[in-house]
């Protein structure tokens, strides 16, 4: 897979965890450096390992900084000022979901990762993934229709 595409996926994943562009880039780059330090090459990336590294780095960051200071920037994306009502509604509905559910939807629909990769990255079974995905989708649909 193209390194640029992997960068985008990891960056997007991290960004929606920390809601801070600079921090998201720092963590993304740290993820790459750690991966290369351990596995040698970013060209033949096993992306599930990168997700795991990124996830752990985000957790470390949460421990270091108070979560409140990280959760305010989601609606202030530069160049995204003309945000549609529909998009805003979806974001608000997503905000109401537990983080784990949002994470699954992001990995599945936005980063378009196969189920196997997500299962390995999150350390869950396929059955658990499908159950949680279905639950998250139902919840989101209900929120959007409400």
């Amino acid at each position: 897979m193209d390194v640029g595409k992997i960068y985008d996926k990891i960056y997007r994943y991290v960004y929606f965890r920390v809601n801070d562009r600079t921090l998201a880039e720092d963590i993304t780059q740290e993820t790459f450096l750690r991966y290369i330090g351990k596995y040698g090459n970013a060209g033949s990336v096993e992306i599930r390992y990168m997700y795991t590294i990124a996830r752990n780095l985000c957790t470390d960051e949460y421990r270091r900084i108070k979560p409140e200071s990280l959760s305010e920037e989601m609606e202030e994306i530069p160049g995204d000022s003309g945000i549609s009502e529909e998009k805003m509604a979806v974001r608000q509905a997503l905000e109401k979901l537990p983080y784990e559910d949002r994470e699954i939807l992001l990995l599945r629909y936005v980063n378009e990762e196969p189920a196997g990769t997500i299962c390995k990255a999150l350390g869950i079974s396929r059955f658990a993934l499908y159950r949680r995905q279905k639950k998250a989708e139902d919840k989101l649909r209900r929120e959007l229709e409400a």
Partner: protein, 238 residues
């Protein structure tokens, strides 16, 4: 709302701001160091399936021969082993055959290290086959495992030595199938020895007198020397 519409809604909602340091970071990204062991592991998937299949077949013959009770199983495997040597030679010459040698010499793993890794993997495979087949056969027919291993290894090592030597010569470089001819000749030689009454008597007394172990050690050392010479002169070999 249909599924696609729903997916697109989620996709659009997860719109992150563009990363600003991406290109700069990627352009500076350099691959890290890879240990020899990891490099070997990385090369394993590039070994083609038929190599593993042949090895599995040999182990299968050893087990089947032991169960059925075919007494010549060790010799049969000894006759098949040159085929694994040929397969190894074909694997080593893959870069050359597909005109990839020049490119591989300029890539992160040099052609030299790739060939070394392939040889190591193939050699390791032969050791595994011998290590599994010898005790299985020896146990079934009341033979010594060492003698069985000698019978299995000798044709293999002889094929390796001669093939590697010829592959480095101008004749071998021009003719891609020289190792096949060598394997055929070695198989025929051992077949004739084991099938003739005088030959089998001489062979049995040779390996039972401890000369077999010495012969395998010498052949093993010669194989390593030939492999070393091949890797050292890999640019000419390519």
């Amino acid at each position: 709302m249909d599924n696609n519409e729903f997916k697109n809604l989620i996709k659009n909602a997860y719109c992150a701001p563009k990363p600003v340091r991406k290109d700069e970071f990627i352009s500076k990204l350099r691959p890290g160091k890879v240990s020899t062991f990891r490099m070997l592991l990385q090369q394993i998937p590039y070994i083609r399936p038929y190599v593993w299949i042949i090895s599995a077949v040999i182990i299968g013959i050893a087990i089947a021969g032991s169960v059925i009770g075919g007494e010549g199983t060790d010799r049969l495997i000894g006759l098949i082993m040159p085929i694994t040597a040929v397969v190894g030679m074909i694997e080593n010459g893959r870069s050359k055959r597909y005109n990839m040698s020049e490119l591989e010499m300029a890539t992160r793993f040099s052609l030299r290290s790739v060939i070394l890794a392939r040889m190591a993997i193939m050699g390791f495979l032969a050791v595994i086959v011998t290590a599994i087949a010898s005790p299985v056969i020896a146990n079934s027919f009341g033979m010594q495992a060492v003698m069985t291993a000698e019978t299995i290894l000798m044709p293999y090592l002889m094929t390796m030595i001669i093939s590697l030597h010829i592959e480095r010569s101008p004749l071998g470089r021009e003719n891609g199938l020289s190792s096949v001819v060598v394997a055929g000749a070695v198989m025929l030689l051992f077949f004739l020895i084991w099938e003739s009454e005088t030959g089998i008597v001489l062979y049995s007394s040779f390996i039972s007198g401890g000369c077999g172990v010495a012969a395998v050690i010498v052949l093993g050392a010669l194989t390593l020397t030939e492999q070393w010479l091949t890797v050292r002169n890999v640019e000419a070999f390519a």
